[in-house]
């Protein structure tokens, strides 16, 4: 059968059309094919091939002439023509001559990277929304590191993501791991059966590292942002992440790591989880709840692995009972939270722990970030990172404070010593060698106090795995050599710090 089809006013250059013709002629069941502009010359060629050319075809019209064995072959020939014409437009991928300048927006970059799956957005918070929504419109899930993003923008992004079947991780989401690749702050953990949904970045890192230490691997860790379980955001991303992990064949157990959810959100989530095929455990930090180490132990048990307590290295010269104050200097917000919960529980209401992220508003530290007695500062809090890098990357704020605390002990009266509790988080994205400066500063602090005949102890919570690029052993040894005790469990570090205090005796 001979068929001639005309597409009015559809210009393509002759070289392209010769290539298209060759492609179509090679289709199974096609005897002859010519795809050409309707110039007099081409129409004559078609007539010569035995085709009947309709009236009124002009040089601006595209003519598809096919001699096909049957109807099926004709359908295939049409499809091949469409595909070959479409392929003649290079689209965004190929840049031709010259090197294309770098894309200026997430959307533009996504159009150049057709197989992109996720956008990492870490621009300042007031600009983050545009880039994130651009990513969603380009079909990418989003990991939104940026903080200071208004909650109504977060809701809008998450609804838009859900509508498109894309996940919005964040805002203020520092950690994710997808298929063994860490995004943002993420430790090198083996792959395994546990999927993590994390409303808390360092909380998720702690759980993953402790699981890795116990020999339990992780399938994926999907961050959702610290506000996801608030009343306003109502678990939008948490539910979506749960559904994705539920559908993931590699995930056999899901652990949700978060701070306490708003009551109605927690209830809603509980019923949502009931509908999933995969078992879900909640590692929710709060008063009277298990700490993250206990949560990791429970998950390991569910995965059928025998638990052993995470490793620790004692300090050479601690003097239990000779310290009055507990001073926590944290980079990880959730680690700070967990330490406060443990300290508050052990110390009781008469020895309050003040903080810039207090357990109770009455315990809030003022802008000076200073007070008598016990305190714990989260140096990674939004308010302290505006316009400066996160303390997991830049240690300056904590180095300064460490020196200040040591000087205060040295200048203070005998019997007024302090226990300093610090966290160090290893992994991708974090400082390449935290011990280089911080261990030296710890040693200097201990020396300052010791030279003055005063008491100072340093307890370090080290969150990492053996495979982390910074080297877990090497980091631990450096801090032990500096005089600190080192604990892979943040909860154990907090308990040890409290144990050293005078009041605990």
């Amino acid at each position: 059968m001979n068929v001639v089809e005309v597409r009015r006013r559809s210009y393509h250059d002759s070289v392209t059309l010769m290539q298209v013709s060759r492609t179509v002629a090679g289709v199974e069941g096609v005897v002859a094919a010519q795809v050409a502009m309707g110039t007099e010359l081409n129409l004559d060629v078609l007539r010569g091939m035995g085709f009947e050319v309709p009236e009124g075809v002009g040089p601006a019209d595209l003519v598809l002439a096919v001699q096909a064995a049957d109807e099926d072959a004709l359908v295939r020939a049409r499809a091949a023509t469409e595909a070959a014409l479409a392929a003649s437009w290079s689209g965004g991928g190929d840049t031709g001559l010259g090197t294309a300048p770098a894309a200026r927006t997430v959307g533009a970059a996504a159009r150049r990277t057709p197989d992109a799956t996720v956008a990492l957005v870490s621009v300042p918070g007031q600009h983050a929304f545009s880039e994130a929504i651009d990513a969603l419109e380009a079909g990418l899930s989003v990991l939104l590191f940026s903080d200071n993003v208004p909650v109504e923008q977060e809701i809008r992004l998450k609804d838009e993501g859900a509508r498109r079947g894309l996940l919005v991780m964040g805002p203020d989401c520092g950690t994710a791991a997808v298929g063994g690749v860490g995004l943002g702050f993420a430790n090198a953990v083996p792959s395994g059966p546990v999927g993590i949904v994390a409303a808390s970045g360092t909380g998720a890192q702690q759980v993953m590292c402790l699981l890795a230490g116990a020999g339990v691997g992780v399938s994926h860790c999907l961050g959702v942002g610290g506000r996801d379980l608030s009343s306003a955001v109502a678990g939008r991303s948490t539910k979506q992440a749960l559904a994705m992990l539920d559908a993931d064949p590699a995930t056999e157990l899901i652990v949700v790591v978060s701070k306490p959810a708003a009551e109605e959100v927690a209830a809603d989530l509980a019923s949502y989880v009931d509908g999933l095929a995969t078992p879900v455990q909640f590692a929710v930090l709060g008063r009277g709840r298990p700490d993250l180490t206990a949560a990791a132990a429970r998950a390991a048990a569910a995965a059928g692995v025998a638990w052993r307590d995470p490793r620790s290295w004692p300090a050479a010269a601690d003097s239990p009972g000779r310290y009055r104050r507990l001073r926590g200097l944290f980079a990880g917000g959730t680690l700070c939270d967990e330490a406060m919960l443990i300290a508050a529980d052990l110390l009781g209401p008469d020895a309050p722990v003040r903080s810039n992220i207090p357990l109770d508003p009455s315990l809030a530290l003022g802008p000076s970030l200073d007070a008598e007695g016990h305190l714990m500062i989260d140096f990674g809090d939004d308010a302290l990172t505006r316009g400066r890098p996160h303390p997991m990357i830049d240690q300056r704020s904590r180095l300064d404070r460490l020196a200040l605390e040591a000087a205060r002990v040295a200048d203070g009266a005998a019997g007024e010593g302090s226990v300093l509790l610090l966290d160090v988080v290893l992994g991708h994205g974090a400082h390449p060698d935290p011990a280089a400066q911080l261990a030296a500063a710890v040693a200097a602090a201990l020396r300052t106090a010791g030279d003055a005949g005063r008491d100072l102890a340093v307890v370090l919570s080290l969150c990492g795995t053996l495979d982390d690029p910074q080297g877990l052993e090497r980091q631990a040894e450096a801090f032990v050599a500096a005089g600190a005790s080192v604990h892979l469990s943040n909860a154990a570090a907090a308990r040890h710090a409290v144990d050293l205090l005078e009041v605990a005796r």
């Binding site: 006013r9 210009y11 250059d13 392209t16 040089p59 003649s88 437009w89 965004g92 190929d94 840049t95 031709g96 001559l97 010259g98 294309a100 300048p101 770098a102 894309a103 200026r104 927006t105 997430v106 959307g107 533009a108 970059a109 996504a110 990277t113 197989d115 992109a116 799956t117 996720v118 956008a119 990492l120 957005v121 870490s122 621009v123 300042p124 007031q126 600009h127 929304f129 545009s130 880039e131 419109e137 899930s141 590191f145 208004p150 923008q153 498109r164 079947g165 996940l167 997808v178 298929g179 690749v181 860490g182 995004l183 943002g184 559904a243 994705m244 992990l245 993931d248 991708h428 994205g429």
Partner: protein, 464 residues
């Protein structure tokens, strides 16, 4: 659900390089965004417009119309007949302007047009009439018309009439006079007026006969082909002009007009490399007009200059103009003219960039890069950068050296504000002083502040 968990991870990263580095260190392919903060003060408006749930669909509709529009030359006739333009009324390029603020070239062109229309005996009298406010003045754009440079249209001038067979729109443009001392560059000497009279008496009527005997001439198709022949449709129109002449020449010869007139018309068109500009412009006008008035769309549907102000109109904000003082082009000068002789940017011809050709197709026209853009690689980069501020790639106009990629098409106000990249416009330069004519050609950008102004209006129109 999404392919996030089951496809190989590939990352686009904007912001802190550390995260991109960390992903790359794990052997994940990373495309980095050269992100820069937008102009301070635009954050709220950007968030509001970017968050407008109507925006994406509205832009798809608007740019879809722009891309699918066609353009056929269907007639050639006088402005009085086509537009109902009355004696004493004149159209001009760009956003609205009153005569007090009119630039030198616009005044010059108006003087020439008054002489053409016998509304004044001599330039001095025309100037007096002009100062007295005795004439009507309205933008071409308000009459579905576009005019290059000063863009002055008077009732007796002949216009190309183009129709969009897809969307049914109509657009008009004057006939191109050539280069040098010509009305659109503000010249009004006797030779200018004499040429215009010849165009009215001979060129217009003959072209009408030829077009009517030919039937609709597909301008879109010629424009698509010219881009593959070294033209960009704004500052180079040589191939387009010759292809157009090829279409109408048989009809001209057949018209029965005196052979001397036919020869003169053929000589005039063939000798004026910009003749096709006045066909490319209304073709672009049809495309951008088809994209007008889509609620919520952030697509720019007009960029136009009157020699004093540069103005844009946006699909989602109707007929409102967002204007600021026009910049002066940067480029090369004719003869002994220099930068001080140049008038600020003027003309409706930036409609070509608005529709995705002209400066946006700079990479297609290596022959003129020295004239307007420096090196060939500058030209390629100019086009490539425009992809970051446009909504689509043309399905009609292709750039061979970019592997036949479609030209960047459909300027998005939000992308201009987000990136700070301004549209790249190729343009001619008129003399600052009325009567001078052309002094050069070059490239120009719109004043940056009109895009945040348009964004503000778009933000105010987002439903709460």
């Amino acid at each position: 659900m999404s392919g996030l968990l089951d496809s190989p991870l590939a990352v686009v990263s904007a912001g802190v390089p550390l995260f991109a580095d960390a992903a790359q260190a794990q052997a994940v392919p990373v495309t980095r965004v050269d992100w820069r903060p937008p102009e301070p003060g635009t954050e709220q408006d950007l968030a509001r417009v970017m968050g407008d749930p109507r925006r994406e669909e509205a832009n798809r509709t608007a740019v879809g119309r722009l891309l699918s529009a066609g353009a056929e030359l269907v007639d050639v006739r006088p402005a009085a007949e086509a537009l109902g333009l009355e004696r004493g009324s004149f159209l001009h390029a760009g956003p609205p302007i009153d005569r007090e603020r009119a630039s030198g070239p616009l005044r010059g062109a108006l003087i020439g047009a008054m002489l053409l229309e016998d509304l004044a005996e001599d330039p001095a009298q025309a100037e007096q009439e002009l100062a007295a406010g005795g004439i009507g003045l309205d933008p071409c754009h308000h009459h579905r018309t576009v005019g290059p440079m000063a863009g002055v249209v008077s009732p007796s001038m002949w216009l190309f009439e183009l129709r969009d067979p897809q969307h049914g729109g109509t657009a008009w443009c004057s006939l191109n006079e050539g280069l040098g001392k010509v009305l659109r560059y503000g010249a009004y000497g006797p030779e200018v007026v004499e040429r215009l009279r010849w165009m009215n008496d001979v060129l217009g009527p003959l072209l009408r006969t030829a077009v009517r005997s030919h039937g609709p001439v597909d301008i879109t198709s010629i424009a698509a082909q010219m881009l593959q022949m070294g033209d960009e449709g704004h500052n180079r129109n040589r191939a387009g002009t010759l292809m157009f002449l090829r279409e109408v020449l048989p009809g001209l010869i057949d018209s029965g007009a005196p052979a001397a007139d036919v020869a003169e018309v053929a000589r005039f068109v063939a000798g004026n490399d910009h003749f096709f500009l006045n066909l490319a412009m209304p073709a672009c006008k049809l495309a951008t007009d088809a994209a007008r008035d889509v609620t919520g769309s952030t697509l720019v549907v007009a960029m136009a200059r009157n020699g004093t102000d540069f103005g844009i109109q946006v699909s989602g904000t109707g007929d409102e103009w967002f204007t600021a003082p026009a910049n002066t082009p940067d480029g090369l000068f004719l003869g002994s003219y220099g930068p001080l002789d140049a008038n600020p940017d003027i003309g409706d011809s930036a409609i070509t960039e608005t529709a995705g050709i002209g400066g946006f197709a700079m990479a297609a026209a290596p022959a003129i890069v020295r004239f307007v853009g420096g090196s060939v690689s500058d030209a390629i980069e100019a086009t490539q950068l425009m992809y970051d501020i446009t909504l689509a790639e043309s399905t009609t106009y292709q750039i061979p050296v970019l592997e036949f990629r479609g030209t960047p098409t459909g300027i998005d106000v939000t992308r201009v504000v987000r990136t700070g990249l301004l549209p790249h416009i190729n343009t001619g330069m008129a003399g600052r002083v009325a009567g001078t004519g052309q002094v050069g050609a070059g490239i120009v950008n719109p004043p940056a502040e009109i895009f945040p102004a348009a964004l503000r209006a778009l933000a105010a129109a987002v439903p709460v």
